[in-house]
Point group: C2
Amino acid sequence: MFYLVGLGLGDAQDITVKGLEVVQKAKRVYLEAYTSVLTVGQDALEKYYGRDIILADRDMVEQNSDELIAEAETEDIAFLVVGDPLGATTHTDLILRAVEKGVQYRIIHNASIMNAIGCCGLQLYNYGEAVSIVFWTETWRPDSFYDKIAANRERGLHTLCLLDIKMKEQSLENLMRGRKIYEPPRFMTVQQAAEQLLEIVEKKNKQSKENNALSPDSVCVGLARVGGEDQSIVAATLRQLATVDMGGPLHSLIIPGNMHPLEMDMLRLFALDDTVKASLTS
Amino acid sequence: MFYLVGLGLGDAQDITVKGLEVVQKAKRVYLEAYTSVLTVGQDALEKYYGRDIILADRDMVEQNSDELIAEAETEDIAFLVVGDPLGATTHTDLILRAVEKGVQYRIIHNASIMNAIGCCGLQLYNYGEAVSIVFWTETWRPDSFYDKIAANRERGLHTLCLLDIKMKEQSLENLMRGRKIYEPPRFMTVQQAAEQLLEIVEKKNKQSKENNALSPDSVCVGLARVGGEDQSIVAATLRQLATVDMGGPLHSLIIPGNMHPLEMDMLRLFALDDTVKASLTS
């Protein structure tokens, strides 16, 4: 059996009891290590589970997925994923390969950023399409996510912005020379996301006075380490968020649409200052 | 401390290890019993946790929330919620009351229908706004959710339809006479939701030939008991879903928007018949 086990968002103990039982009895345990990271490291997981864990990066999974699936034909294999196992398409691909080989699979669900953001008080059913904000480079500065935020806001809906994670980046030189030397992992912060968004907002507002989907004074929500012991939530203007240090990864940004009074009541708990607090009043 | 503990979607063992520890050490354990149900009953939870559980229905929570919060001032109180604790506004309200009284709270997240629907292969970041489909009565047949589905589809986005749950309904007579006699709980099935939606689709399509957001032949996805041992997923036309019996609660319905090839590959695993399978090809 091929088990895809969600680890949730915080630490080793956020695994479900069902998931832990799978990990403890599985022949081999893999940890997916390229779409997200837990606030605790591999060591902490190994110690808590009492099991050795094989770190599975993107290359490993893409190149060895047939082996991995073949193992699961006769043995219980556990493939651990931070959050919920179905958060990324790569894992869908693994399931399809398993089914193709006649290998049974089982998903052990858990919390993921897509539902745990409920912690800030904005209701999940008031969200529109989620967007991704990627690191800009000197030559590549995509801003199409702004239109999705604007379309959501037009319908009164909130937008979750998933922030870029670069896990095994190669420098252009290393890539061209085929050297498998990787840069340190990078995680986009709320501050960086807010800076990029602010730049787009200012450009769009200059182009058209009628475009008022978002202004530098719009109240947005920065979240860091959701589900962890040191989780942090800040409601502040976009301009303010571009200067706020929210600490270690992972970060997310929410652009609220229309807010229900109860949503504002809850968001006020996280207001950066009294001005923000006052603006969150119905 | 006031702990809001998510139970996930399947059975007693879908609680997280962290959640289980809270339940085992808490002074009192409440189970929220009006916005959702687990596939297992209170007895099974009590036996598994080794704790007595106090069933908290809507009246109980609304009338006694001050007591509940006051207890949490000096003791650890666990408030168990099926899925993730922040799925319903009522729980936001409990948090606000806790903060107001200076009582600390802590959320233990878990999977909820909002992210576990990833199991059908449609990617979570391709969903637009979720909608609710309620039981129609002879005189009340709301259909505004259709416009939201249409707006999502126009943008190529999937729609999760949350289906009505009636937990402690009173008949009109009992309500008027103030008798606290309740009807048996009702859970909308995929079949019922598809029937109602089909009726709306046929009406809209008669009104305007240009309205083709959805047709009786559109492939939709019915899901039952997501996360449970006997989970069931069926991809079929809306017309077919109106005749499919998907068994016990809880049910959900998904109206796909534009599908990525990998999403279609995955959805084909759940196709009702070869015609549906053939239509899920890029």
